[in-house]
């Protein structure tokens, strides 16, 4: 392997979070499995498939956390000006 100096640090805190959902049976619900953080969408898709491979899912999808619209939030009172 390369020298330690060749391994540059990366600010993984700046990566985006993606929520992962999957369906086990055709008439079953879409479960929230967890999340992955990744530098881009391609990487997130690959990681979601690898990380949550414990079952032969019928369907799996990811959603950027930024795209989630809060209805009831843990931080603050939604709807209260």
């Amino acid at each position: 392997m390369g020298l330690v100096k060749q391994k540059s640090a990366r600010n993984t805190m700046a990566w985006s979070y993606f929520e992962v959902f999957a369906r086990e049976e055709a008439d079953g619900p879409l479960f929230h499995l967890g999340c992955v953080s990744a530098p881009n969408r391609a990487s997130a898709v690959g990681q979601a498939r690898m990380v949550y491979s414990e079952k032969p899912w019928l369907e799996m999808c990811i959603v950027p956390r930024d795209a989630v619209i809060p209805v009831i939030g843990v931080n603050g009172m939604i709807g209260v000006a």
């Binding site: 392997m1 390369g2 060749q6 391994k7 540059s8 990366r10 993984t12 990566w15 086990e24 079953g28 479960f31 499995l33 992955v36 953080s37 990744a38 530098p39 881009n40 969408r41 391609a42 990487s43 997130a44 898709v45 690959g46 990681q47 498939r49 690898m50 990380v51 491979s53 414990e54 079952k55 032969p56």
Partner: protein
């Protein structure tokens, strides 16, 4: 058309299985170089897939050719392996790892995909299943490639120039007659697979601005030499390094003592799906 697996097919599938075997060990070794926990987990998953595909091909061949069980994994000497020669040199840095692993994944899939519509239904089904999993390997690597910085991109360019021609060479030169193609075991030619491999690499590397299309196209055109062993898709006499082989099949006394008898380890059901003792992991 014959659906019987021939000795030529054995050699061809070993080129894929042995290369995936080595690549799986690359992932295991590189696992702790991931930049985040999901990175490390993804490498573990990719290693698991690669080793699983290798063993599935081994068992398929042993079954079809009436070979003794486990001979292909434990009964061969290092000189008998059909591994991709370019993987014998370990990755030199993160960029080199990404570029080489991506090219190797593309090459393996493209050669495998020539069997997608094989006259042998068991082989065709296996390849289709592998394809679904290998897509995510390439996608994950593509994402990491796109997220590299300046120094890593220089390393990747160097890797493409050095290793690219060797991986292209793996497809060999166009043969006049391919017995696997004429028998229907394979339904598309190796030349088609080679072209598709070049397109895959060009698309991703130019999209990520790693290299210009013209420069990359010129760099990837690997030619076979006189010492080319077409059956093993590597140079005559080339063999896997001892240290890498020891990592794949450890022979030290302690490891051998710890290794469970094959009859037990192979029959273990490691699939956790739908086993009562793992019911607590159900999401329902």
């Amino acid at each position: 058309m014959s659906t019987k697996i021939s000795r030529e097919c054995l050699a061809e599938l070993l080129c894929i299985a042995d290369s995936d075997w080595v690549l799986g060990h690359w992932y295991i070794k590189v696992m702790l170089n991931g930049r985040s926990l999901p990175d490390c987990t993804a490498f573990a998953g990719m290693g698991q897939d690669s080793l699983g595909h290798t063993r599935a091909i081994f068992r398929f061949l042993e079954d079809q050719l009436d070979l003794p069980d486990h001979q292909l994994e434990f009964g061969r000497a290092p000189v008998e392996l059909h591994d991709m020669e370019v993987l014998s040199r370990p990755p030199q840095n993160w960029g080199d790892f990404l570029a080489t692993a991506f090219m190797a994944e593309c090459a393996l899939w493209r050669l495998l995909s020539t069997f997608l519509d094989s006259a042998n239904p068991e082989l065709a089904g296996m390849v289709k299943h592998f394809g679904k999993e290998l897509y995510f390997h390439r996608l994950g690597l593509e994402g990491w490639i796109a997220a590299t910085d300046g120094e890593e991109r220089s390393d990747m360019r160097r890797s493409l120039l050095e290793r690219g021609p060797l991986i292209t060479r793996w497809f060999g030169s166009a043969v006049e007659q391919d017995p696997l193609l004429s028998s229907g075991i394979r339904t598309s030619s190796v030349a088609t697979a080679r072209d598709a491999f070049l397109t895959d690499v060009m698309d991703v590397m130019t999209e990520a601005n790693i290299m210009e299309a013209g420069e990359l196209e010129a760099a990837l055109g690997g030619q076979t030499d006189d010492d080319w062993d077409a059956a093993r898709r590597k140079s005559v006499g080339a063999r896997i390094p001892d240290t890498l082989w020891e990592f794949m099949i450890p022979t030290d006394e302690d490891t051998v003592a710890l290794r469970r008898p094959l009859a037990i380890s192979v029959d273990d059901n490691l699939d956790l799906v739908d086993r009562a003792e793992y019911g607590h992991t159900d999401y329902a």
